[in-house]
């Protein structure tokens, strides 16, 4: 399994999760977990996804989500999971 973490940060608006999930579904990226909270007044969403079945290059997914975020007016980052697990798990 190749896991990545997608984070969305910004003003909450209708349809953010729907649009991200639509893109992920079209790209054969499977959502494993979703959580959200408000940090410092900003909407924060985190998705754990599995991209092992996606035919898209991981870099393309990163760029596409970045562009999608710009359209919606939020910051969307997609990063491979290891940067977080390395930092927070011994």
């Amino acid at each position: 399994m190749n896991k990545a973490i997608i984070t969305v940060v910004g003003q909450d608006t209708v349809g953010i999760i729907a649009r991200v999930c639509t893109y992920l579904s079209q790209s054969d990226v499977n959502v494993l977990d979703i959580s959200q909270t408000i940090i410092d007044g900003f909407f924060n969403m985190m998705m754990i996804v599995d991209y092992s079945d996606s035919d898209k290059d991981f870099g393309t997914v990163v760029d596409d989500l970045d562009n999608l975020g710009e359209k919606i007016g939020v910051r969307i980052r997609c990063q491979r999971e290891e940067i977080f697990t390395k930092m927070h798990r011994i």
Partner: protein
């Protein structure tokens, strides 16, 4: 499973607190390029570098994108050129030709800097090494991204005072050769004692003779992250403070370790070491000086600075050591004046002096770094500064270095602009009392005794 707060913390470090991987540095051995014909040597060097490091920059960018972590510099270090070119180069022109080959190769593969135009003369200089050192004013003024270092002493050998004396003149000549650019050439020249073989940072990085054919070394950074973490330690005791620094250093180093392993895997080049240095930049909030001030100093440079830095340096190492099995290079807290906003301010206000910086180098990771001094400082005084710093390294069994810039045509009250990561610096006053007789005696200072430690 990861939780949203952990993910938020990591991204906050990257976006707000300027966490980055300062450099992926590929060390390349040039020993198999050796020949006695200069044009062939230059061709061999060019080919070896452009072949071995062909994918370095693209790989660095791909890792940057995949993990969302900035990798600020991609660099190359090579075998000290005095060992590679000593048999072929008989004139300064020859050495300059080799430097141009390095410059061209580094630009071809797109790296930011290439280090290793170096000579290791901790006991004595060969004729070839002396010639290489004498070529530095031309090398550092004619090339753009070639960096040079000269190791003039070590704990095991003592200090080669002939080299120290020569380097005083060379630093002055390099400054004069790059006078129209705030003596920028001196930014690319470091004089070491106990230089490490695996340093990924510049300008002092070279690929030591103990290394293999090629290696990936990574330098992490992150004073901003430590500074932010210390906000929570305000008013707390030293135990809490140390714990906070260690935890933060661990997290920073783990990112470096990940990037290093990934770069090593993708490039098919063995992983060498992580250098877990706190490397500042002139940007606000990315300052080691600020960290020291948050530990409790009104301004860096005052009483308490050396103790605070000693503690910081030690905690960074203790936190980082557990995060990677291979820690090397310089590892600790850097104190380059022109690259650190709070140090620049303290030097400008007169609170931070060269003498205090010298004391700080006894406990920091390197030495007197990126310090702009008056252009009329004599060669003997610069040699004296180098000798003092080398003595600290020799006796304390640590790496020390001098990278001072006697800015041509400028004096105290002026400032020098080096640009980018190199920053800017007020010209700091130097004690000009003569040490001419001391540095011109000739010979070497013997290695220190290794017992009776007091």
């Amino acid at each position: 499973m990861l939780n949203i707060m952990e993910v938020h913390e990591t991204n906050q470090m990257i976006e707000q607190e300027k966490l980055d991987v300062r450099t992926i540095t590929m060390g390349i051995s040039l020993l198999d390029c050796v020949t006695d014909d200069v044009p062939t040597l230059c061709d061999n060097i060019y080919r070896k570098i452009t072949t071995t490091a062909h994918d370095l920059v693209a790989t660095g960018k791909a890792i940057e994108r995949d993990y969302g972590i900035p990798i600020v510099n991609k660099r190359i270090t090579v075998t000290p050129i005095s060992l590679v070119a000593g048999g072929a180069c008989t004139t300064i022109d020859d050495y300059v030709a080799v430097a141009h080959a390095l410059d061209r190769a580094a630009k071809e593969v797109g790296v930011d800097l290439i280090g290793g135009f170096s000579a290791l003369v901790s006991k004595s200089m060969t004729a070839a090494e002396r010639l290489l050192i004498r070529s530095l004013p031309r090398v550092l003024s004619e090339t753009d991204i070639v960096c040079s270092s000269v190791n003039v002493g070590s704990t095991k050998t003592g200090i080669d005072m002939n080299a120290v004396e020569l380097m005083g003149h060379i630093v002055k000549d390099v400054a004069a050769a790059t006078a129209d650019n705030d003596s920028y050439g001196c930014v690319k020249l470091v004089v070491f004692c106990n230089a490490p073989d695996d340093n990924p940072f510049m300008a002092g990085g070279f690929h030591g003779v103990t290394e293999g054919d090629a290696v990936i070394n990574v330098g992490v950074s992150g004073p901003g992250v430590v500074s932010r973490a210390l906000d929570e330690a305000r008013g707390k005791d030293f135990e809490f403070l140390c714990e906070t620094i260690k935890r933060t250093a661990f997290k920073i180093t783990r990112v470096g370790q990940l990037v290093a392993q990934e770069a090593s895997r993708r490039l098919g080049v063995p992983f060498g070491i992580i250098d877990l240095s706190l490397a500042p930049t002139p940007a606000v909030g990315d300052s080691v000086g600020e960290v020291l001030e948050k530990i409790g100093l009104a301004q860096v440079g005052g009483p308490g600075t050396t103790a605070a830095l000693a503690m910081l340096n030690d905690q960074v190492k203790k936190g980082g050591i557990m995060a990677s099995s291979y820690v090397g290079g310089l590892s600790g807290a850097f104190i380059p004046v022109s690259e650190d906003k709070n140090m620049i301010d303290a030097a400008g206000s007169g609170n931070l002096t060269i003498e205090k910086l010298e004391a700080m180098t006894c406990v920091c990771s390197v030495g007197l770094d990126m310090i702009a001094i008056p252009g009329d400082t004599t060669a003997a005084t610069i040699s004296g500064i180098i000798a003092d710093e080398a003595a600290i390294g020799m006796v304390n069994q640590k790496t020390t270095a001098v990278r001072v810039i006697p800015v041509a045509g400028k004096g105290v009250g002026d400032s020098a602009e080096f640009g980018g990561l190199m920053g800017y610096a007020p010209i700091m006053p130097v004690n000009n009392s003569s040490c001419e007789e001391f540095v011109t005696r000739g010979g070497r200072i013997p290695a220190p005794i290794h017992s009776f430690k007091n």
